[in-house]
């Protein structure tokens, strides 16, 4: 799925992503980015709401795995997540899914193909790689 198809899929399946005005900005091996405007996602201080940042990072991980498996129908769930808020976010919310190590991704694909069940840890950075404002680490499980 390309970014537009992934965005449409998310808006259809997870209504909160529509309310967040979330969109997949890029979805390829080199860069996987999901964004949302501050306007729909601010908090009582006018900066990004922590819950919106957690939701954005969670979705970035889901979308990365669907894209990776090449099938949005895979039953993907999140097991745990850790969020570290370094500094307030004062502009567009931007989540970058860090590509996992090649061997981790290969084990994930192989486990999924062989057993129909696979687990993957994904790191997501909020901001840009040179200016990280928050960090997320999530464990996802894919089931056929």
């Amino acid at each position: 799925m390309n970014p537009e198809e992934l965005t449409a899929y998310l808006h259809e399946k997870i209504p909160l992503t529509r309310a967040m005005e979330l969109r997949v900005a890029s979805a390829n091996a080199a860069e996987f980015v999901v964004c949302a405007p501050l306007e729909a996602n601010h908090n009582h201080l006018g900066t990004a709401f922590g819950g919106s940042l957690s939701a954005l990072a969670t979705v970035a991980g889901y979308a990365f795995i669907w894209h990776e498996l090449g099938e949005a129908s895979a039953h993907v769930v999140i097991r745990d997540s850790l969020m570290n808020f370094r500094r307030p976010v004062r502009s567009e919310l931007r989540a970058i899914c860090v590509p996992p190590q090649r061997e981790d991704l290969e084990s994930f694909r192989l486990d999924f193909a062989r057993t129909g069940k696979a687990r993957l840890k994904l790191a997501v950075q909020i901001g840009s790689s040179s200016d990280i404002t928050a960090e997320f680490l999530g464990t996802y499980v894919a089931l056929r």
Copy 2:
């Protein structure tokens, strides 16, 4: 603030809480509960979206602290959060803020009064105390 006032404050200040149809169900020393309907917060599998659960728990912590300090104007931020998803949530999303130990709460109030800055760790349970479907642990900082 009573539950209705807290709900109205949240809807006004954090627009995503309105989209989530989030409401503070009870806000007193014995019980602090924040809810949201599944309809507005489901995922691609028809169960509660992990991002909605994280956002709900985050808000439960914020609201607990505002209620505790008796002033919604306190500058409260979240530093980090940990979410552990045990099982899918198939009905209304319900977050219960676990009352902190009395001495932790007293240190928090004292630090805030003395120095204008205080830190508090809050545990939030999703589900009911007898049937916890997910757990959240967040560190909040209040500044005057």
